[in-house]
Every structure is written in structure tokens, then in C-alpha cells.
């Protein structure tokens, strides 16, 4: 008996050793791809942000000029400010919309088939082109667009509204349109894990609709809200496609500023702004993780 246990113990130990090696053989290719195409490029970005440049090329000498230029420019501060503003407004709308949509799917729709079908309906657009989805707002919002025509027809307004397109309104609309799914999915996922008996218990103890939501569902969906928040914030902060299409070339964002510097071949300046952007995004993620523990979702 004791020999069997011993040998099986040895066997287990050997398979565990094989396992670790096997696991690295399996995970290795992914680790290599992410090292070459994520870790090294970001390191490169940081290095280049400290290099000098002239009008044609990067010069390999260490300077702090790029950061000095960025941090002493009022335009840069304003651009970062407006980008954070986009992120915050989009977040407020996405989280309110996302919470109720997810709540509807998770608790009000009762058949699993319908839940999955309706969830799919929300997520399919994610797999189509963001650029096309953004452009598709133009016929609705333009000066002679659907919204203006309709409102004029109904005599709600007497002159076409001009703030609908190429404006902050249009930019936020596009962000909400593209990114709310990133809020719905993790919240829906957290809500589906909530033990249904807890809600029955709350009801049995006399909690109404709002008290059940505030005291049971909301706290238990917090990690989903946290993940969704990280997604929405990082997507908006790094965007330049939506802002350039919906802003009509007049609106600023950090992404557009970096993009402009790239087209002027000012790579070290673009890299410095990129590093500042990355630092702000990581700080935001850090703060979200301080408020909300998302580990139980992972």
C-alpha cells in the first residue's frame, strides 16, 4: 500500500514537472508575440520620447525637450483636458445605459435562448467596421439630415440645428454608439453570476424594486462595472478616428494631436505625448482598481 502511494506521488511530481515545461511550450508563442509587438514597441516609444529630432530624422541624443515642450504648451493641456472630458461624459452615459440594458437582459428576460439572442443582437455590430459605423451618422445628423428634416417638418424648430454634426455632441454620440457594448458585456457577465435566491430573499424581506437594485444587484455587479469602465475610458482616451470624422477636422483630441505630429514626422514629440497619455490611462486604471476589486471576475 505504502509503495503504491509513494510511486503515485513520484508519478504526480514528474507529471507536474512536465506540466510546467508543457505549459510554457504552449504559452510561449503567445508570450513571444506580445513581447515583440507590445513590450518592445512600448519600450521603444519611451526611449524615442527622450530623443532629439530635426525636420527629417530622429537624432540619438538624450533630451528632455519633448516633455518640456508638451508640458509647457497650453494647447497640450487643453487637448488633454478635452479628451478627459470626452471620456468622462461618455462613461456617464455608457454606464447608465449599459447597466439598465444588462439588467434587462439578465433579470427581466427570462428564457436563456432569448437572453443569448438579444445579447448577440447588441454585440454583432462590434464585429463590423468602426469607421463605417461612424460615417453612417452623417446622413442622420447633417444640416439637411434626417433629424433636421423631421424636426423642421414637425415645426419643432424653424432653422436646421447645426450642433448635430461636426461638434462635441456628435463626437460623444459616436463614442456612446461604439463603446457602450464594452460596458454591457462585463456588467451582464457579473449579473448572470448573481445567485437568484439572493434576490428572492431580498423580496421576501420586503425590499422593493429599487432597494433590491441598490442593495443587492448594484454591489454584486461592481466588478463588471469596473471592467466596463476601464474599457470605455481607455477606448475614448486613445481614439482619433471618431473625433476626426465626427469633429469634422475642427475638434481636438490627444489621438489627433499625436497623429498630427506623426504626419509632420515629429516622432519624438508624438512619442512624448504618447507616454503622457499612457501614464494618464494607467493612472486612471489604477484608480479604478483601487475603488473596485475586479479580481473575482478573472
Amino acid at each position: 500500500m505504502s509503495t503504491t502511494t509513494q510511486s503515485s506521488g513520484r508519478l504526480r511530481r514528474r507529471t507536474e514537472g512536465d506540466n510546467a515545461l508543457g505549459a510554457w511550450l504552449l504559452a510561449g508563442p503567445m508570450a513571444i508575440v506580445l513581447t515583440i509587438f507590445l513590450v518592445v514597441p512600448i519600450a521603444m516609444l519611451i526611449v524615442v520620447s527622450f530623443l532629439d529630432y530635426n525636420s527629417v530624422q530622429i537624432l540619438w541624443s538624450f533630451v528632455l525637450q519633448n516633455y518640456q515642450d508638451a508640458l509647457t504648451s497650453v494647447v497640450t493641456w487643453k487637448t488633454f483636458g478635452v479628451t478627459i472630458e470626452y471620456a468622462v461624459i461618455t462613461w456617464v452615459i455608457a454606464v447608465s445605459l449599459g447597466f439598465w440594458i444588462a439588467y434587462f437582459l439578465a433579470f427581466e428576460v427570462r428564457s436563456t435562448t432569448w437572453q443569448m439572442a438579444l445579447f448577440l443582437l447588441c454585440s454583432v455590430p462590434f464585429l463590423t467596421s468602426n469607421i463605417i459605423r461612424t460615417i453612417s451618422w452623417i446622413p442622420a445628423l447633417g444640416r439637411n439630415g434626417i433629424v433636421n428634416t423631421l424636426l423642421l417638418h414637425l415645426h419643432v424648430i424653424h432653422q436646421p440645428l447645426t450642433f448635430l454634426l461636426y461638434s462635441k455632441f456628435a463626437i460623444i454620440l459616436a463614442f456612446v454608439h461604439l463603446d457602450t457594448l464594452f460596458m454591457i458585456t462585463p456588467i451582464f457577465n457579473s449579473m448572470m453570476r448573481i445567485d437568484r435566491t439572493l434576490i428572492e430573499a431580498a423580496r421576501d424581506n420586503g425590499a422593493g424594486f429599487w432597494r433590491t437594485i441598490l442593495n443587492v444587484i448594484l454591489p454584486l455587479s461592481k466588478s463588471g462595472i469596473g471592467i466596463g469602465t476601464i474599457f470605455v475610458i481607455t477606448l475614448v482616451m486613445g481614439d482619433f478616428v471618431s473625433v476626426s470624422i465626427m469633429g469634422g477636422g475642427q475638434s481636438a483630441s490627444v489621438g489627433i494631436m499625436i497623429q498630427n505630429e506623426i504626419s509632420l514626422l515629429q516622432y519624438p514629440a508624438a512619442a512624448a505625448n504618447s507616454v503622457i497619455l499612457l501614464a494618464i490611462v494607467l493612472l486612471m486604471v489604477f484608480l479604478i482598481l483601487r475603488v473596485i476589486d475586479i479580481r473575482k471576475e478573472l
Binding site: P29, M30, C122, T128, S129, F240
Partner: protein, 274 residues
Amino acid sequence: MGGERRGLAFYLLAVLFAVFVLFLYGPIATIVILSFQGPNGGLTFPMNGVSLHWFHALFQQQMVGDFGGAVTRSIMLALMVMVANVVLAVAGGMAFRRRFRGATLLFYLVIASLIVPSLLVSLGIGLFFSQLGVDPAWYSSAFGAQLTWTLPFGLLIMFAVFNRFNKSWEEAARDLGAGPWRSFQHVVLPIILPGVVGIALFGFSLSYDEFPRTMMTAGDSNTLPLEVFAMTANVTTPVIYALGTLTTGFSALIIVAALTTMAVLRKRRLARAI
């Protein structure tokens, strides 16, 4: 709970949901309709006749550059990303079922890959390649750049799949003398196959439509999203809607094909289980 009467909340939220779906699909529906504008029609309603004029124009237009080439490159690249995404994400998913040194670090790296803004990944890879003296190209730098976006989704899908995976099947295979590869091939793979199709779908679709990560990494030859973005700046006719209709239709076709395959696979497995 099933027999309970629907409350007011259900009806209000159902309306909200319907409005949200309309908000999601309405705009794309309008450009599909407007892409059939008559030859004198503009970018918005009213429809000035109905024609296929703008679809013809799309294929005749030479000024946008190498349009056919862009489509071919985008599809080739999407197929490459799809295959690599499936292989790397499934292998990675298998690895994460065990504890191994560095697993947490690798996991954080995968999550970082989702969080770092695409523009920065694109710029970083562009700088890296130019400093190496290697010309960026769609099949090298853009391929890697897109994988940094598709792999995290692939791995998270694998996590979801293995969360519901019953290990006893695999143990049974091992007890019957199957080696790791045979038990993967005959036991694990058939069970996770619908999830694998999902990973393939994400790999293909996200690559096919990817713009920011491709922008600085595609080199001299454009992919389709780069052509489309260039068109947004200087095309003022419904030809851009025709392009939108075609490319969205193509994406929809891929999605439907993948979902049908997943449904068939699931049904077949259930039938076999009985």
C-alpha cells in the same frame, strides 16, 4: 419565478432596449438605403431615384488608389490573423489550465494588450521597425500589431470555455491510455470546437476592420480600412456608402457563417451525447 407577472419595469426597459437596438442598427440601415441613390443623389435623403450607380462607381474609381489590392490584402491578412489567433489562443488557453511560473505576469501582459491605446501600439511598432531598418509591411508588422488586439479576446474566450469544461472526460481518455496529443485531438478539441470557431470569428473580423493598429504598421500597401479612412476625408458622394454597404454585408456574412457553424457543432454534440 417563471410564472410571475411582468412588472412595469419590464415594459419600460423593453422600450429602452428596443430604442438602443434602433440606435445601434438605424444609422447603418440608412447608409445601406442611401447607397442605392440615383446617379444625381447626394449624401442624404431624399432618394433621387434608385440605382446601382455608386456600386459601379466604386469598382471603376481609380483615384482612390489600388482598391482591389487593398481588399485582397485585407482578406489575406484577416485569414493569417485568424489562423494565428486560433493556434496561439487555444495553446495559451491550454497552458493557463495549469499553474506555471510567470502565468500571472503573462496574464497581466495580455490584459495590458487590451488596455494600451491602439494608436500607441501602432506608433511603437512603426518606430521599432524603422529603427531596426526593416520596412513595415501588412504581412509582418501589421500582422503582429493586429494579433496584440485579437489575442486577448481569443484567450478570454478560451477562459470562458474552460470554465465550463468537465475535466473528467480528459481523465477518462488518459485512463484509457491516450497521450496528451490524442486526448486533445479526440476529447478536448471536439468539446471546445464551438469556442474555437468563436475565436476564429473574432480573429478574422477584428483584423478585417482594424484601423488604428494598422495605420503605422502596414507600410506602403494599404489595407481596406486605411482606404476607407482616406475616403472619409475626400469623398463626398454616396460611393462611400456603397463601400460601407459591401464591407458591412461581407462582415455580416462571416458572422452568420460562424454562428451557424457554432450552432450546428453544438447540436451535433448534444445529439451524440444522447
